[in-house]
Amino acid sequence: MMTQNAPNAIELRRLEKSFGLAKIIQGVDLAVEKGERHAIIGPNGAGKSTLFNLITGKYEPTAGQVYLHGQDVSGLKPFQINRMGLSRSFQITNIFPKMTVFENIRCGLLWSMGYKYSFWHLVNRQRGVSERAEEILEDINMVSRRDELAGVLTYAEQRALEIGITIAGGADIIMLDEPTAGMSASETTYMVDLIRKVTQDKTLIVVEHDMGVVFDLADRISVLVYGEIIATDTPQAVRENQTVQEAYLGSALEELH
Amino acid sequence: MSLFIVNILDGLVTGLLLFMLCSGLTLIFSMMGVLNFAHASFYMLGAYFGYQISTYVGFWPGLILAPIIVGFIGAAVERYGLRRVHKFGHVPELIFTFGLALLIEEVVQYFWGKSQMAFEAPGVLKFAAFSIAGNAFPAYKVFMIFIAMGVFLVLLYILTKTRIGMIIQAALSYPETVQNLGHNVPMIFMGVFGVGTAMAAIAGVIAGPVLGTFPGMAVLLGSIVFVTIVIGGLGSLWGALVASLLIGWLQTFAAAYNLRMADLLVAIGLTEPVDVAQSMLSDLWTLTLPQVGPILPYLLMIIVLVIRPNGLLGKRET
C-alpha cells in the first residue's frame, strides 16, 4: 500500500497517544486510499474516538505522525487540518443549537467559500453561499425545516444536520463518528443512504458500532482493539479473520443476528 | 535584617488572611465551576456582623456567631439564587455573583451607613506580643496567624480524613459519579457554599479591626482574591495556598522597600535626564516600588496566564 503513486488520503505512522500513564493508542499504522470508504470498528474503550481526535487535530499525538494527502499534519490545530480538506462529525451531536438549520449549514460553508474572517461582506447578500446552502439542505432533505432553530429538531434530524454541516465545506475527506448511534432501524437505513449520497467521490472514514451499517457501507474495515489495529481488510476478509473473531467480532456479530 | 523578619511575619499575616478567602472560593469553584465574584462581600458581611455582635456581647461571641450567620446566608444564596441561575450557564452565573457583590455592598450601606465602623480588637489582645528593633508586633496579629492556620488545618483534616471530606473530594473530580452513587450532590453544593462563605466571614471578623470595617473593604480585597486563585490555578487548594503567601509577601515587600525605577534605569546604563519633571518619561523615572505595589498581583496574573494558562498548580481546563 505504501508504494502507490498518489499519496493516500490519510496515513498514520506509529501513532501513539497517552493520557498520563494510560497509553490509549499504542502505535497505529493505517493508510486510507483516496475515494475509499473506510470503517473503524472495535469494542468500547478501544480508542476509536481518541484515534479520530488525533487525526482531526483535537488531540496532539504523543508520538508518530498523521499524513493528510502526503503532508504531515501531526500537531496542527483542528481548523488548520479542516482547511486542508478534512471535515468531521461528532459522536455527541455537535451543532449550533441557537441558529437556524439554514445558518448552521451556512457556517459550514463560509470558510471554504473564501469569506474567512471577512467583515466587508454581508452574509445575506452573498448569493453563492445561500444557493449552495439551499442545495445542501436539499441533499439532506431538510428544506422544510430550513428556518427552525437547530436546537428544537428531533434527534435524527440533528444528526442529519450534523452531516450536512460536515460536508458543507466541500472537504474531500469526511470523518463520521458513529453517525447512526441511538437511531431506530428505519432512521438508520435512511441515514446510511444519506451518507452514501453525500459522500459520493469522497474519502469516508466512519466509526460505527452497528455492524450492519459497517458491512453495508465500507470498502475496507480496520479493527481497533486496545489501541492497536489488529486487522485491516475488506469486509468479507475481516468477517472471516480468526483473530478478529476471537477479539471482538464474534460477539458483535452475534448481537447483530 | 530585623526589618526583613518583621516583613516576613506581616506578609504571612496578609497571605494567610488571603488564603482564608481563597480556600473557600477554591472549594466553591472546584465543585460548581463558578467563580463566586461576591466572595469578598461575604468577608465584608462577616466583618459587619462581627462588629454588630461585638457591640452587644463582645468580640468573642461575634467570632463564633457571625460566620454561622453568614454561612447560612451563603447557603441560602446558593439554594435560591445560584442554583436557579446555574441552568443558564457559566457566564450568567458569573454575572449573578457580580450583581450579588454590588447588592451586598448596597445593603451594607443601607444598614450601617457609609462611614467606617469603630470595630476594635478585643482588649485582651491589645498589647505588643514582641517587638523587633522597635517594631511592635501586636498580639492580635499572632492571634490572626493562629486562627488562619487553625482553619486551614481543620479544613485539611475534614477533606482528607473524614467521610464527608472523601465525598467532597470525589465530587470535586467526578460530580456525576458521586451523584450516581446516591449522594445528594445539590445538598453538598449548598453545604460547601455555606462553609466557604463562613470561612470568608471568619476572615472578615478577624480582619475587620485591623484592616478597617467599611463598605469599600470588599472591593478592595475582592479582585485580589480572584487574582490569587487564578494565579494559583483555578480549583487547586495548594495552588491557592502558594499564591496567597506569594501575594502576601509580594505586597508587603513591595510596600516595604523604596526601590526606585531611576536606580534600575541607571543600573542598566541609562542616564537620568537633568530635568526629570519636564521629561516625557518623567513618570518612569520617578516610579517607586511601593507605588506599583498594588498592581503587581495583576501584572503577575497576566504573566502567569500568558505563560501557564492554567495557573501555577492548576490542571483543570476551564
Binding site: K77, F79, N82, R83, S87, F90, N94, I95, F96, P97, K98, M99, T100, E103, C107, G108, L110, W111, Y115, Y117, S118, F119, H121, L122, V123, N124, S130, D147, L149 | R84, V85, F88, V91, I95, F96, F98, G99, L102, L103, E105, E106, V107, Q109, Y110, V219, S223, V227, L281, S282, D283, V292, P294, I295, L299, M301, I302, L305, V306, P309, T318
Partner: protein, 430 residues
C-alpha cells in the same frame, strides 16, 4: 437571538434590492426621531443627558459585540472607551496648542482607531481562552490600566485627568461646536453611524461566526475557524466602537479622568447591557436608555437608588436572563398569533396589586432607611405625597399590611395570568 436570526434568514430568501425598505425603515425612524428630540427638549441639561445616553448606547452596543455576540464576559471594558477618549483629548489639545488641523467631527475616527489598537494589543493574549479565564484577564488588565492612570501622569493626567477645549479646531460649515445643540447633532450622527456599523458587522461572515464560536467553539474549529482569531477580531471590533464612544465623551465633557477607566464603569456597562438584554441587537440600546434615566431621575428622588438598581439587576439575572428586551420579545409569539389581546385583561387585573406590592416594598425600605439615618428633628418624611413620622411604628405596620394584602392578591391572580399566557402562546392546530 433566535428572533433576529429567523427574520434574517427569511429576508435572505427574498429578492434583494440595494437596501430593503423593510430593514431601512427602523433606521430612518430613528434618524427622524433623533433629529426632532432637541426640538422637544432644548434645555442644556436635557441635551447633556441625551448625549450621555447616546454614548452609553454606543458603548453598550460595543460591549454586547463581546458579551452577546461572541459570548465573552469582560470585566474591564471601560479601558477601551477610556483610552480612546484620552487619546482624543490629547488630539484636541494638539489642535488647540500646536495647530494640528483636525475638524472635530472626524475625531471619533481617531478615537476608534486608538481603541482598536489597544484591543489588538491586549486581545493578542487575552482572547486565547474564553469563559472564566478571559473574564479574569479582562479584570486584571482593567485594574492594571486604571491603576496606571494615576501613575502615568503624562498621558492620563493623574487624578485630575486631562481636559481640553473642543471649540479650538477649524469650523465645519460654520459650526464651532460651542453650543450643546451642535454637539448633540454631532453625537447623534455618530450614534447612527456606529450603531449601523455594529448592526452590519453582526451580519458579516465574521459576525455570524462569532455567534457560532459563542455557541460551540469546538464545532467552529472543525469548520476551519480558529476560535481564538474569531474572538480576537470581535474584540478588536468592539474596541474600535468603544473608542468612538470615548471620543464622543471627550467632545461632550471635555475632560477624561480615572473614572473613565475604572472597575465601576466597566461594571456598570455590564449591568446596562445585561439589563437591556444581551441576546438582541436592540437590547443594549434599551438598557442604556433605561439605565441613564434611572440614574438621573431616580437619584433625584432617593438616596438609595443604587440599592434599587442592585435589586433590579439581581432579579433580572435570576428571572429574566434575556433582559428587558427578552421580556418584551416573549410577547412576540402571542402578537404574531394574534392572541395578544388575551393577555390584556389578566395583565390589567394584575397591574394594580403588583404596583402596590412594589410600592410597599419601596416604602418599607425608604421608611427603615429614613428611621435609621435621618437627623434628629427631621423625623418627618414624605413618601408618595404623604408626610408622616418615620420613627413611629404605625407607618411601617400600615405599609407591611398593604404589602401583604397586595402579595396575597398577586398570588391569587398569578394562575389566571399563567393560564392566559399559555392560551396566548398556543397556536391553533398544535
Amino acid at each position: 437571538m433566535s428572533e433576529q436570526n429567523t427574520s434574517m434568514a427569511k429576508s435572505s430568501a427574498s429578492a434583494q434590492p440595494l437596501v430593503p425598505i423593510k430593514s431601512a425603515l427602523p433606521w430612518l425612524a430613528a434618524i427622524a426621531f433623533l433629529l426632532f428630540l432637541p426640538v422637544v427638549f432644548p434645555s442644556g441639561a436635557a441635551l447633556t443627558i441625551m448625549n450621555q445616553m447616546a454614548m452609553t448606547i454606543i458603548f453598550a452596543l460595543a460591549y454586547n459585540m463581546l458579551l452577546g455576540q461572541a459570548g465573552m464576559l469582560s470585566f474591564g471594558h471601560a479601558v477601551y472607551m477610556g483610552l480612546g477618549g484620552f487619546f482624543c483629548m490629547h488630539l484636541l489639545n494638539q489642535v488647540e496648542y500646536n495647530e494640528l488641523y483636525l475638524p472635530l467631527p472626524l475625531l471619533p475616527v481617531f478615537g476608534g482607531l486608538f481603541g482598536l489598537f489597544f484591543a489588538f494589543l491586549i486581545g493578542s493574549f487575552s482572547t486565547r481562552r474564553a469563559g472564566t479565564v478571559f473574564a479574569m484577564i479582562s479584570l486584571g488588565v482593567g485594574e492594571l490600566i486604571a491603576a496606571c492612570s494615576i501613575i502615568i501622569v503624562v498621558f492620563f493626567g493623574g487624578e485630575e485627568g486631562v481636559s481640553g477645549d473642543r471649540t479650538m479646531g477649524p469650523e465645519v460649515f460654520g459650526f464651532d461646536f460651542a453650543s450643546q445643540q451642535e454637539v448633540y447633532y454631532l453625537t447623534a450622527i455618530w450614534l447612527i453611524l456606529a450603531a449601523l456599523g455594529m448592526y452590519l458587522f453582526s451580519r458579516t461572515p465574521i459576525g455570524r461566526i462569532a455567534n457560532a464560536v459563542r455557541d460551540n467553539e469546538e464545532r467552529a474549529e472543525f469548520l476551519g475557524y480558529s476560535q481564538r482569531n474569531v474572538r480576537w477580531i470581535s474584540f478588536c471590533a468592539s474596541g474600535f466602537f468603544c473608542g468612538i464612544a470615548g471620543a464622543l465623551f471627550a467632545i461632550n465633557f471635555e475632560i477624561l479622568t480615572e473614572e473613565n477607566l475604572n472597575l465601576a464603569t466597566s461594571g456598570s456597562i455590564l449591568l446596562i447591557t445585561f439589563l437591556g438584554g444581551v441576546g438582541f441587537f436592540i437590547g443594549p440600546v434599551i438598557g442604556a436608555v433605561v439605565f441613564t434615566l434611572l440614574q438621573t431621575v431616580l437619584s433625584l428622588y432617593t438616596e438609595i437608588w443604587q440599592l434599587y438598581l442592585g435589586i433590579l439587576f439581581v432579579l433580572t439575572v435570576m428571572f429574566f436572563p434575556a433582559g428587558l428586551t427578552g421580556l418584551l420579545a416573549m410577547h412576540l409569539r402571542p402578537w404574531k398569533l394574534g392572541k395578544i389581546g388575551l393577555l390584556a385583561n389578566p395583565y390589567a387585573k394584575m397591574l394594580a396589586p403588583a404596583l402596590v406590592l412594589v410600592g410597599s416594598g419601596v416604602a418599607l425600605m425608604e421608611i427603615l432607611f429614613h428611621a435609621r439615618h435621618a437627623s434628629l428633628g427631621e423625623e418627618e418624611m414624605n413618601l408618595f405625597g404623604i408626610t408622616f413620622n418615620s420613627q413611629d411604628w404605625l407607618p411601617t405596620i400600615v405599609v407591611v399590611a398593604i404589602g401583604a394584602g397586595a402579595f396575597y392578591l398577586v398570588r391569587l391572580l398569578a394562575p389566571q395570568v399563567k393560564e392566559a399566557w399559555d392560551m396566548a402562546n398556543h397556536a391553533e392546530g398544535q
